[in-house]
Amino acid sequence: MTKSPGRRVSAGVALAACMALAACTTPQPAAPSASGEATKGTTTADIKFWDPYPQRTDGSDWDKLVKACAPQGSTITRTSAPQSDLFNQLTTAVKEGNAPDIVVLDNPMMPEAVSSGLVATAKQANIDTTGVDANLMGPGIVNGEAYGVPFGSNALGLYYNVDLLKKAGVDPASITSWDALNAAIGKVAAAGGKGITFSGVTGEEGVFQFLPWFWGAGANLNDISSDQSVSAGQLISDWIGKGWAPKSAVTDNQSAAWDLFLTGKYGFAENGSWFASAAAQAKFKIGVLAIPSKAGGVAPVPTGGEFAVAPVQAKDADNHYANAAAVIKCLTDGDAAMKTNETLGYLSAKADVRAAQVKANPVWEPWVKSVEGAQGRTTELGAKYVEVSSQLSEAIQGALNAAGDANAVKSAFAAAAGK
């Protein structure tokens, strides 16, 4: 009995000393090199491609398109993960020095990716950014330097069930302000339908869906507790409170909200242009409107879509950037741009290709104005957007949970901004 405490104490002291030593030393830097030129390298046999479309499985159109873009003598291995997981995996991979050759990254994450030293410049990776619309290229330009290139963009719009609206006596063309929208939803609900589906899930997706109402009220991302911001929160909170929107909006993502709309019971759905072709093939007739702003007119929608970037490499940077250059060129050059965007369900980031898309497929017609007028999320805040988005997400959750209670909505926004 007398031996064990002594041994235990010495073991404890040894562990404590170990930890104290480790705690006081600064962690070793693991810096991948930020140099390298695509023009100096050659393509390698194995190319790693990461994208955030896990729903596009092996053998799908997008998968086949990507793999067909492998240069002569190379094969592409494609891995998919949801947006934030992909960003985290990229962070770890760059830190370890085995980043993939190409990553497709959500546009609001671009400034943070650049400031964390995760991506190479477009010049280094020999990526052509000419012809891309300024508002869509915006998130990828940091300190005047371009990083990566967007394939295309999607936009948010207001889908509506044509028959339900006709039955309720609502003229879609009259929905040009919040009051008109609320009146329309009220009429649909009175006629026996349900109101509107949208996504209020925590994270960037819920914020993406909220921004048209936020900007439509005249609010600014620099101050998320302003009266205009609170009024946008009150709008969606009232929908839950009056039973016009499903309570599951608190946890639904855009895909789940779309599935609810497809049941045919809801009059409206706030969702994205990537469902445009699915809407054309649905069992009932679906129309689409631009999202109205509070006072009247079209609300600005956030720029959707992702950037194709070349991550920073620790070794053989020249060859990896050459891989990136080849594959991205194959996906965005000339006619390929149209095929890529049609496969993804996006409108091209280049005006001429967009015009060709609209001509070829009239389903894109209502979306062009929204895409061209779309506002970048990171334009004003840069890398600080991620933090503000997180606060706004908390505010949205608080507002939806409040289910119409005005005081609770106001305090939810104030509390989120204060943090």
Binding site: M19, P32, N88, K95, S116, G203, S390, S393, Q397, N401
Partner: protein, 316 residues
């Protein structure tokens, strides 16, 4: 002439004295060789991550310094920030509520079922006992998703059931009710574990004690309270303490049902969300996540020490 000294007087034979030093050295090296793999395993898989975790909580990391290194040492600043965060004490109380209520109901219901099954072997009792194990056997992703589906406020089965009795539908998964909802699901998950262990504990209680007690005129409630419970104490202590340490760390059931939103945020889910930028915290906060993780570790360690002390006291 020397008288032969008997071995008994000296205590050791001369040959033994010369042999002993040689025998002492080789067992020591053999012993070290046996222990070495275990030591390496413990160092790599336990000590290293633990030290890294504590280190991370003492330096201010962001995504950039995580990739490139050079995070500044800030001592206990991160801990001060975390503890003074207005959310901290709310999350701690939610964790405590979740853990205590879960364990309490899991134990009581598990014990009640164990006593019920122990009371008599009726037809299909083995099958029924097997069915009670289903929550334990199902993957948590399945049970979590099913509970979330059942608790859907507009069209869920639970609200329909309440409607039969004329009770208003409950918004199960909103911010205020989330804690109650995940606790209910967690209790359902933990009952089989308690049932199995307490049932086997009950098997070890000698039946002649009950016979003697009923001869003395003890009621079944008195028998339960005075015979079963005291004899079940060691098993109960293990079950409750194991359950406590496990429940403190639970992330999966809460995450699947609510992603730690609202009142269902516990120290474990908060740390997980901040470490990976998921759920309510879309920004990755490396240092704060490590700090909360370390605090959770200390709490679990405290309970572990309590268990060791109780074990020691029983041995004495």
């Amino acid at each position: 002439m020397t008288t032969p000294v008997s071995s008994a007087e000296t205590g050791h034979s001369p040959s033994a004295v010369t042999q002993r030093p040689r025998r002492r050295r080789s067992p020591k090296w053999v012993a070290i060789a046996f222990v070495a793999p275990l030591l390496v395993y413990l160092l790599v898989l336990y000590a290293y991550p633990l030290v890294e975790n504590v280190t991370m909580s003492l330096h201010r990391f962001d995504r950039g310094s995580f990739v490139r290194g050079g995070a500044p040492f800030v001592g206990l600043d991160i801990y001060r920030e975390v503890v003074s965060d207005p959310r901290f004490w709310r999350v701690v109380s939610q964790t405590a509520t979740f853990t205590v209520v879960s364990i309490l109901f899991q134990y009581v219901i598990g014990l009640a079922l164990a006593v019920f099954f122990h009371g008599g072997q009726f037809r299909l009792s083995a099958a029924l006992r097997g069915m009670f194990l289903v929550p334990w056997l199902l993957p948590v992703i399945v049970s979590g998703t099913v509970w979330q589906w059942m608790m859907n406020p507009d069209s869920g089965v639970l609200n329909s059931f309440l409607g039969v009795f004329g009770i208003d539908p409950v918004w199960w998964l909103n911010a205020d009710n989330a804690l109650m909802s995940v606790t209910i699901a967690n209790i359902w998950l933990g009952i089989p574990f308690n049932l199995v262990i307490l049932y086997s504990g009950l098997q070890n209680v000698p039946t002649d004690l009950y016979e003697a007690a009923s001869l003395d005129g003890a009621s079944s409630w008195q028998q339960f309270w005075r015979i079963t419970m005291p004899l079940l104490r060691p098993v109960s202590v293990i079950t409750v303490l194991l359950g406590l340490v496990y429940t403190l760390k639970v992330v999966d059931i809460i995450w699947i049902m609510t992603t730690g939103a609202g009142s269902s945020q516990t120290l474990a889910t908060w740390s997980y969300g901040m470490a990976f930028g998921k759920g309510a915290s879309t920004v990755i906060r490396y240092s704060q996540a490590s700090a909360v993780g370390t605090i959770l570790l200390l709490v679990a360690l405290a309970f572990g020490v309590v268990y060791l002390v109780m074990q020691r006291r029983r041995e004495d």
